[in-house]
C-alpha cells in the first residue's frame, strides 16, 4: 500500500498508555506493503505490515502469517492548496520511492547473479507442497496453480487473523509477532546470507568474528526498526530485510508457482485494499477510527516526521536532528485528520519563536513523505530476481522488468495523488513486470541476439 504521511499531530498528546504503547510499537519504517513476507524457514513471521502510501499490497508470508496491511493512504489536507502541494511534490515522492526500490532490486540481482546458493533447488516451503518435477506440462501447471491457491489462502488467513488481533486490541501479541519475525530475519537469514557470500568468494572467517558481526548487525537492526534510529539507517535495514526475504522466496518457490503466485497476489492485493470488506481496508479504517498508526513494522517511510521536540523552544535547536528519529510516528501522522494536523502544526509553531518561520515551513514540506509497504518491496524484488535467475542469463529481461516495475510504481503514485486514499502498490507494477518478463524473454531476446550476432543496431 502506498500512503502519504501527514504532519504528526501526536506531539501534543499526553503520554498515556496507548500513545506510549504505540510509539514503542511503531517501527520506524512504515511501509506499504500489504503482503506479509513469509520467512522461508516457516517460522512465524510477524505480519509485516506493508503499507505503502496508498497502495496496499497483501503481504504473503511464507509462514503462516500474512501481513497484508497496506496502509491506506491518508490523503493530505482537503484544502486545495494541499492538493496542489501533494501533486506538486509528487515527483519528489516518486523518486523517494524509486531509490529504495532500485537499491533493493540491485542487491537481489547482484546476489542472484553471483551467489549460486539462491538459484539452487533445495526443497520447497511447506506452503507450496506440490512439486513441479512432473514430466507433463498440464500436471506442472496444475501443481503450480494448487501451490498458489494454498499460498494465497495462507496469506488470507494470516491477514484476517491480523485484522482480528488488531480489532480486539491485542497489541502485545502483534508486537511480539513482529519482533520475532524481524529477529529471525536479522539474525538467522543474515547469517545464512553471509555464509553463502563468504563461500562464494572463498573468504575464510572465524566464528568469533562472525558472531561479532552478526550480533552487531542484528542488534542495531532491531533497535532501528522497532525503536528509534537515524532515518537512513532504518531505511537501509528495511531494504536489507526486504532483499533477504525476496531471496528466500526466490530460492524456495518453484518456477511456475512463483509466477502464478505473483499474479495471484496482485489480484488479492487489489481486492484486499479496494473492496469494502477487504481485510486490509478494514485494517486501515479501524486504525483511522482509532487515530492510531497501523503497525509500524514493515513499512518503509521516505521522509522524516516532526518529533515531540519541535514543540519546545529549548529543543528547537535540536529539532533537525530529532527529526530523523521516529519513523514510527509516521503512522500516527498518517492517520491524523487534516484539521487535527493543522491545529497541531499551529501549536507547534507558536512555542518556537526563535526559529524562522520559513525553515519551519520548509521542514513541514519536507515531512510530506510517502510510505510503501515492505511486502511491495519484496514482491518487486522477487519478480526482478526471478527474471535474473531464470531468463537464460539474459540481462535485457532483468532490465526490462526493472523499468516496467518502476513505471508501474510511478503510475500507482500518480493514482495516489489523484485519489488520495490507500491504493494497492502491487497490481500495476507486477502486471507490467510479468508482461515484460514473458515478452522480453520470448520475443525480444531472439531478436536482440540475432542483431548482436550480426552487429546490427536499431
Amino acid at each position: 500500500m502506498i500512503t502519504f504521511m501527514n504532519n504528526s499531530d501526536s506531539e501534543e498528546e499526553p503520554c498515556n498508555e496507548r500513545t506510549s504503547l504505540m510509539s514503542a510499537e511503531s517501527p520506524p519504517v512504515p511501509s506499504y506493503q500489504d503482503g506479509l513476507q513469509a520467512s522461508g524457514a516457516g517460522e512465524a513471521q510477524a505480519h509485516r505490515k506493508r503499507r505503502t502510501g496508498s497502495s496496499r499490497s497483501p503481504n504473503n508470508t511464507a509462514e503462516r502469517e500474512m501481513s497484508d496491511s497496506g496502509v491506506p493512504v491518508r490523503g493530505s489536507a482537503l484544502e486545495n492548496e494541499e492538493e496542489e502541494l501533494t501533486l506538486k511534490y509528487g515527483a519528489k515522492h516518486v523518486i523517494m520511492l524509486f531509490v529504495p526500490v532500485t537499491l533493493c532490486m540491485i542487491v537481489v540481482v547482484a546476489t542472484i547473479k553471483s551467489v549460486r546458493f539462491y538459484t539452487e533447488k533445495n526443497g520447497q516451503l511447506i506452503y507450496t507442497p506440490f512439486s513441479e518435477d512432473t514430466p507433463s506440462v498440464g500436471q506442472r501447471l496444475l501443481n503450480s496453480v494448487l501451490n498458489t491457491i494454498i499460498m494465497i489462502s495462507v496469506i488470507v488467513v494470516m491477514t484476517v487473523f491480523l485484522v482480528l488481533l488488531y480489532k480486539y486490541r491485542c497489541y502485545k501479541f502483534i508486537h511480539g509477532w513482529l519482533i520475532l519475525s524481524s529477529l529471525m530475519l536479522l539474525f538467522l537469514f543474515t547469517y545464512i546470507y553471509l555464509g553463502e557470500v563468504l563461500k562464494t568468494y572463498n573468504v575464510a572467517m572465524d566464528y568469533p568474528t562472525l558472531f561479532l558481526v552478526i550480533w552487531n548487525f542484528g542488534a542495531v537492526g532491531m533497535i532501528c526498526i522497532h525503536w528509534k534510529g537515524p532515518l537512513q539507517l532504518q531505511q537501509a535495514y528495511l531494504i536489507m530485510i526486504s532483499a533477504l526475504m525476496a531471496l528466500v522466496f526466490i530460492k524456495y518457490l518453484p518456477e511456475w508457482s512463483a509466477w502464478v503466485i505473483l499474479g495471484a497476489i496482485s489480484i488479492y492485493d487489489l481486492m484486499a485494499v479496494l473492496c469494502p470488506k477487504g481485510p486490509l481496508r478494514m485494517l486501515v479504517e479501524t486504525a483511522q477510527e482509532r487515530n492510531e498508526p497501523i503497525f509500524p513494522a514493515l513499512i518503509y517511510s521516505s521522509a522524516m516526521m516532526w518529533t515531540v521536540g519541535m514543540a519546545k523552544p529549548d529543543t528547537a535547536a535540536r529539532g533537525p536532528t530529532q527529526q530523523t528519529w521516529d519513523a514510527a510516528e509516521d503512522g500516527r501522522d498518517n492517520h491524523g485528520s487534516s484539521t487535527h494536523a493543522d491545529s497541531q502544526m499551529s501549536e507547534t509553531r507558536s512555542p518556537v519563536p526563535t526559529r524562522p518561520i520559513t525553515s519551519l515551513e520548509e521542514l513541514e514540506e519536507e515531512e510530506r513523505g510517502v510510505k510503501l509497504g515492505l511486502g511491495d518491496f519484496i514482491f518487486y524484488s522477487v519478480l526482478v530476481g526471478k527474471a535474473a535467475a531464470t531468463a537464460s542469463g539474459d540481462w535485457n529481461t532483468t532490465l526490462a522488468c526493472f523499468v516496467a516495475i518502476l513505471i508501474g510504481l510511478c503510475l500507482t503514485l500518480l493514482l495516489l495523488a489523484v485519489f488520495k486514499k490507500a491504493l494497492p502498490a502491487l497490481p500495476i507494477s507486477i502486471t507490467f513486470g510479468l508482461v515484460f518478463y514473458f515478452s522480453t524473454d520470448n520475443l525480444v531476446r531472439p531478436f536482440m541476439d540475432t542483431l548482436a550476432s550480426h552487429q546490427l543496431y536499431i
Binding site: 542469463g393 540481462w395 523499468v403 515478452s439 525480444v444 543496431y457
Partner: protein, 256 residues
C-alpha cells in the same frame, strides 16, 4: 576479455551518458521520471517490433538464408520506424503533461519546458537503446573467451562500445530535433530524423567493415549536434562566449 575490457567498454559506451545524467538530470525528480518513461516507451516499441519479426520468422522457412536475412533487414527498418512513432507518441504525452503541470503550478508556468523534456526524452531513449545493445556484451566480456576466434573481427567489443556511445548521443539529438519539429509543425525536421535513424541503422549492415558504419554515424552525430544546438538557441557567438568564459555584455575575463 578481462576486467580491463569490461570497464573500458562500459565507460566508452556509457560514460558520456552517465555524465549527462549526473549533471543535468539526476537533480530534478521530474526529469528522472521523464527519463524512465522515455526508456519505457522505447522498450514498448522494441517489444512490438520484436513481436512482428518473431511472427514473420516463425511463419517462414528457417533454412532459407536470404529470406532470413531479408526478414532481418525488414525487422530492423520496421523497428526504427516504430521507435520514431513511439517518440511521437511520447511527445504527445509530454505535451499533455505540460498542460497538467501548468494547471497545477502556482504561477501558471510549467516547472519544465518542452525543450528540456525533449532532451531528457532523447537521453531516455538513447540510454535504453544503448543498454539493450550493450549489457549482454558487457556481461560476456567479464568471462573467459577469445574475441573473433572463428575469423570474425577482433574489435567486436570496442566497436560495439563506440557504436553504442554514438547511438546514445544521436538519440539525444534526435529527441531535440523531433520535438522541435513537432512543436513548430516542421515536418521536414521529423522526416530528417527518421531518415537519419534509418541511415545509421542501415550503415550498421556494413559491419564488420567498421569504416562504413562508425564513420558515417559519427559524422551524422556531429551534424545532428550542431543542428540541435542551433535549434536550442545556440549560436557561434554563444559558443565563443562560453569557451572564453565571457559574461554577456562584459569584457573578456581570463580564468573562470
Amino acid at each position: 576479455m578481462t576486467l580491463a575490457v569490461f570497464f573500458g567498454c562500459t565507460f566508452i559506451a556509457f560514460g558520456p551518458a552517465l555524465g549527462l545524467f549526473l549533471f543535468t538530470i539526476a537533480r530534478d525528480p521530474l526529469r528522472i521520471i521523464i527519463l524512465i518513461a522515455g526508456a519505457f516507451f522505447w522498450l514498448v516499441s522494441l517489444l512490438l517490433s520484436s513481436l512482428i519479426w518473431f511472427i514473420a520468422v516463425k511463419a517462414s522457412d528457417p533454412q532459407d538464408e536470404p529470406l532470413q536475412k531479408g526478414l532481418l533487414i525488414f525487422g530492423v527498418m520496421f523497428s526504427v520506424l516504430l521507435q520514431e512513432a513511439f517518440r511521437f507518441l511520447y511527445y504527445k504525452l509530454l505535451r499533455k503533461a505540460i498542460e497538467g503541470l501548468v494547471a497545477l503550478s502556482e504561477d501558471g508556468c510549467s516547472p519544465i519546458s518542452i525543450q528540456q523534456m525533449a532532451y531528457v526524452a532523447g537521453v531516455g531513449f538513447g540510454l535504453m537503446s544503448g543498454a539493450f545493445s550493450m549489457i549482454n556484451l558487457l556481461a560476456d566480456s567479464l568471462g573467459p573467451g577469445t574475441v573473433g576466434i572463428h575469423g570474425d573481427s577482433q574489435l567486436y567489443f570496442l566497436t560495439s562500445a563506440f557504436m553504442t556511445m554514438v547511438l546514445i548521443f544521436l538519440h539525444t539529438f534526435w529527441g531535440i530535433l523531433f520535438f522541435h519539429g513537432c512543436e513548430h509543425r516542421r515536418w521536414w525536421e521529423i522526416a530528417a530524423v527518421v531518415i537519419m535513424h534509418l541511415a545509421v541503422s542501415g550503415s550498421t549492415f556494413c559491419n564488420p567493415l567498421y569504416v562504413g558504419s562508425l564513420v558515417p554515424s559519427y559524422l551524422m552525430m556531429a551534424a545532428a549536434a550542431v543542428w540541435a544546438y542551433i535549434l536550442s538557441g545556440g549560436s557561434a557567438q554563444n559558443l565563443r562566449r562560453f569557451l572564453l568564459c565571457l559574461r554577456s555584455g562584459a569584457s573578456p575575463q581570463l580564468g573562470s
